[in-house]
Every structure is written in C-alpha cells, then in structure tokens.
C-alpha cells in the first residue's frame, strides 16, 4: 500500500474519523463541501495536528500519535498543490519552481526541471511573476513547483476548482502525465466526476468526516448510489488499444475485439488506454441497429438492471470489451423488454466519446 491514512480529529462542526489504504497511483478524495477533505490533506501535509492517527507513504511514517512521531511539514517531502495556487508573489516563475529544490535532500530523486517545464508548457513564463499569469498558468506553475520539490507524495486540493472549463481541460492532462510518467503517489481532492473518471486509481468518498466508500475508481463510478459524483457521472471504464488512425480524422480502438471510433486522439498505435463510457451516452437496442449515424456498437448480454429513484434505470451489459453501463428510462426498459441474460446492443456516438473521457496510458503498476 503506497498511502496509508488513519485519522481522528474533532472539528467544531464535524468529527473526522477515517482510515484508508490506497494503492499507488491517484487516490481521489471526494465529498461535499465541508465533509473534511481539506482537513485530511492538511493532516497528511502536517499543517494540522490531528488528535490521533497515523499516516505513512510507501512505508515511510509521517506521523504516528501512538509512537509520538511527528514530522514537521518541511521534513515530509510533499508536493502540495493548493486550491488557490499560493505561488510566491515576490519570486519569478523560475524561482518559484526551484524553491523546493533548494531544500530537497541531496540524495532525493530529482525531476529534470527542463522536462517538467516542457511537460507543463511553462517555458515562456519563466521570467514573469505570478501576478501577471492567468489562472491556468498559475496552476501549472504550482504543479511544477510541487513536482520539482522531489516529493514522495503529491497532494492536490481541488487544484482545478477555480478554473473555467477551458483551463481545466488544459491542466488535467498534466496530472495524468504525473500519474503515468512520474509515478509519484497522488492524493487528489475534487468534486468533479470527470476528474475522478480520468485520474482516479482509487476513490475515497467522504461524508461528514467519515470514509463512506472506498475502492477502485471503476467500481465507485459504476455505483449510482455514490452521491457526490451524481448520477450523470456513472459510467463504465473500458480498457482499449489504439489500432488505427484514419484519414478522415477518426481513431479506431480495439475494445476486446470490437472496433470503437472516436475523434482523433494523440496516442500512438498499440498504446493501451482507459476510456470512460458515460452511462447516459449509451443507447440500447434489442436488435442490430441499422441506418444510424452512430458508428460504435457493442453487443453483449444484459447483466443487471437497477432501477433508480427517478424515471431512469442503469442497465449493465456484459460485452467482450468488458462491462458497459447504460442509463435509460424505465419506460424504455419495458418497451424493449429487457431482461437479464438477453442479447442486446449498446450504441455509442463517436463524438460523445469526448477527449476528456479518454485517460492516459494505463498505469503499469
């Protein structure tokens, strides 16, 4: 287990009491505003001293109240990306980036600054000061600063919440690259289902200071009962391989023997990816569809049908590519006569597979 957290702490309004062990990769903490996410991250960072608990990263203990062990923040070797950036206003971007490096221990694994700068696309900003940067640029610098401190764990507290969608789209890939290329464990706080879907290796759902659900991202996302992400976030995650880039701007993926098409993505042929198929983008058909503009059809058998609170139901289909979820109305369930074990076809629009649902390379670990 790469990150192990156990915490008890009384806050004015809520009691924090949780414990979770997370594998390496990205652990997403999510939950409503006020559920205690920042408090957990601060306790891991050492900015808050919990009443009792223990946190370790890759077996290295940051604190353990039973042993009376308490590392001050500056000895924890973390890269904390704060929600508000917290760049040093009096330093240039370059100086901000190298701040953590001054203090990193001699023997620490060092990122190559040039590589990080290039990865984040902030080379042209190096001599400017934070005040002159746009929100997205600031956040990229903050990520770079955290990364170049040679951290053993990266903490990111809603790093994208203050940004508009366009800027979110700019930055999300950098976190994916962190996960996939740098392989530092990351504890990531977010409200956004899209971010969870793209980044999370495992998810911890917080509610009133307790961890109410905890598991791999694909499981938690496929569970409509997990409130924070919302019903619109439910979806399946498929593992696919890039098989061809077509001349008409489409990329063909191999999903367990079936071809899926989506608008050109930058990944190389042969690469293995995860893509999220949002349940609400899937149409079901009880016979092979014909004459439709949708290019992607996955056939499979109905596995489960779960009716929701409203007019909808989540139908889970067993396909050769893996399980696929569809969110349709109960009325359609009846109209199509869907039943467990029945043969069925999932129709997915090409353009509905948005780039933000395509994850990076599948993590090897």
């Amino acid at each position: 287990m790469s990150l192990s957290v156990r915490l008890q702490h009384d806050l004015p309004h809520i009691k924090l009491d949780l414990s979770f062990d997370a594998p390496s990769g990205v652990t997403v903490l999510f939950g409503r505003s006020g559920s205690g996410k920042t408090t957990v991250v601060n306790a891991v960072a050492g900015l808050l001293k919990p009443a009792s608990g223990r946190v370790s990263v890759d077996g290295w203990e940051l604190f353990d109240t039973e042993q009376g062990l308490w590392l001050p923040p500056y000895k924890r070797r973390l890269g904390y990306v704060f929600q508000e950036g917290r760049l040093f206003p009096h330093l240039t971007v370059r100086q901000n980036l190298s701040y953590g490096r001054w203090f990193a221990p001699k023997g620490a694994r060092r990122e190559n600054p040039d590589k990080v700068i290039e990865m984040l696309g902030i080379g042209h900003l190096l001599d400017r000061r934070p005040a002159g940067l746009s929100g997205g640029e600031k956040q990229r610098v903050a990520i770079g600063r955290a990364l170049l401190a040679s951290p053993r764990l990266i903490l990111a507290d809603e790093p994208l919440a203050a940004l508009d969608d366009a800027r979110k789209g700019e930055i999300l890939p950098y976190f994916e690259r962190l996960r996939d290329e740098v392989s530092v464990p990351i504890l990531y706080v977010t409200h956004s289902a899209a971010e969870v879907a793209r980044l999370a290796t495992s998810v911890v759902a917080l509610q009133d200071g307790k961890a109410v659900r905890h598991g791999p991202a694909s499981e938690v996302l496929a569970d409509p009962s997990v409130a924070p992400a919302g019903i619109r976030a439910v979806g399946a995650v498929l593992q696919v391989r890039v098989s061809k880039h077509h001349a008409d701007g489409l990329t063909e993926l191999d999903a367990g023997g079936t071809s899926l098409f989506l608008p050109r993505i930058p990944h190389k042929i042969g690469e293995t990816l995860r893509i999220r198929i949002p349940a609400q983008e899937v149409i079901l058909s009880n016979k092979p569809p014909e004459g439709l503009s949708a290019l992607n059809v996955l056939s499979g058998t109905v596995d489960t049908i779960r009716a929701g609170d409203g007019p909808g139901a989540i139908v889970s289909l067993q396909t050769t590519a893996g399980p696929v979820l569809a969110r349709i109305t109960r009325r359609s369930v009846d109209a199509l006569g869907l039943q467990t074990g029945m043969q069925c076809y999932a129709v997915i629009k090409t353009v509905a597979l948005a780039p933000h649902d395509v994850g990076g390379r599948v993590n090897q670990s």
């Binding site: 923040p73 917290r86 206003p89 330093l91 203090f103 934070p130």
Partner: protein, 230 residues
C-alpha cells in the same frame, strides 16, 4: 554647510551616526519582536507588547533616567556589560542605545502590521516545499514585509534624529561624544541669543528627517510593487 560651526557640524555628524547605528542594530530585534507579537501566542505576549510600547508612553526623561540606572557604570547591566568591554555610559553608543529604544515601538508597530498582512498560507506553502521555519522566514516572509521593514526603519531613523530627552538624561550632552543635534538645540535654547543657531539646527534635522520619510514612502512603494509582482 559653511553656515554651520564646527561644533554644530560635529553634532550633525554624530546625530547621523547615532541614528544610523540605532536603526541598524535595533532592526533585527525589531523584526524579531514584531514577528513574535504578530505570529506567536505565548504567555507574556501582552507584557512584551507593553514593554515595547513603554518608551512611547513614558516621558523621555524617565526613560533616560531608567537607562542611566540600568546601563550606567553603576547600573546592574552596565556593570556586567562593562566587564565584557561594552560601555554605553557617556559614549555615543549610549546615545544610540537611547535613540534606538525610543524609536523601537515605532519600528515594531510598522513591521508588525506588515507581518500581519502576510498570508500565513504562503508560509505554509514554503514549509510543505521543505523549507525549515527560519528559511521560510528568510525566503518568504522577509521579502514580502520588506516595504514595512523599510518604512519602520526609516521612521525609526527619523525619530532617532529627533530624540533628545532620553539621550541627554542618559549620556549627557558632551560635544563630540554625545551631543546630538537635538541636544545642541537644547543647549542653544537655554541661553539668551541662541534661537538663531537653534533654528538652523532644527531646520537641518527637519530636512533630513523629511528626506528620509519621503525616501521611505518611495522605496516602500517601489518594493511593494516589486513584491506584489507587477
């Protein structure tokens, strides 16, 4: 400065020296105390705060007298310090001590306010990046409070240039040793016909103090702009 007599010139030179050193030497203490008052909660914090303000509140003569009793050759501290070769009594160093102590509350107030304006979250950010406390102070807090430090230092300098009551009471009014500009003004005012000379000296000290103040506003604004990153 052809219109200044040699004694007056000497007094001016001495005042500048006294004020300069008073400011320079108290500055680290001022920053430290301001930081402690702004950021730490410790028992006796309010006592420290009161002590710092004391010279502002007491009649300067009283402060001077207390200094004389403490740091004089017979005083408890004065005797100890004399053993290690540090003598304040009746030396220009004593004038600097008096001026420094009188100016200290002004310096601390200015710096304290600027420290309170620094977002502790930036200091936390420094800590998470691996900087120990003192390094965080040196690399984050200090650069950001620089305008306040400069304002505080120059205000203290200006105050030191004008300090008189405590100085003359503590280290007397010895030309070339402890006769600062204001002491010289005092001496002139004690005798008939001294007003013209006194006025001349007052004008000089006003010019210097005002110059310093304007400079502090100017530097403060420049540094603030640089620190704010624009």
């Amino acid at each position: 400065m052809g219109w200044l007599g040699p004694d007056e010139l000497e007094a001016l030179r001495l005042s500048l020296r006294v004020s300069f050193w008073a400011t320079l030497v108290t500055l680290p203490f001022g920053i430290f105390v301001a930081y402690a008052l702004a950021r730490w909660r410790f028992p006796g914090r309010q006592v420290l705060n009161g002590l710092v303000h004391l010279p502002l509140i007491l009649p300067p003569v009283v402060t001077g007298y207390l200094l004389l009793l403490t740091f004089g050759l017979q005083g408890p501290l004065g005797r100890v310090l004399a053993e290690v070769g540090i003598v304040f009594a009746f030396r220009w160093t004593g004038a600097a001590l008096a001026a420094g102590i009188m100016a200290f509350p002004l310096m601390v107030r200015a710096i304290r306010l600027s420290i309170e304006a620094v977002d502790p979250k930036l200091e936390q950010a420094g800590a998470t990046l691996g900087a120990p406390r003192l390094m965080v102070f040196a690399t984050v807090t200090l650069p950001m409070i620089l305008p306040g430090v400069i304002a505080g230092a120059i205000l203290a300098f200006a105050k030191a240039m004008g300090e008189f009551g405590a100085t003359i009471t503590f280290v007397s009014n010895i030309p070339g040793q402890t006769q600062t500009l204001p002491s010289a003004v005092y001496a002139f005012l004690q005798v008939p016909g001294g007003e013209a000379a006194a006025t001349r000296l007052v004008v000089i000290s006003i010019i210097i103090a005002m110059g310093a103040l304007l400079l502090s506003e100017f530097i403060g604004r420049r540094v603030a702009a640089r620190v704010a990153g624009s």
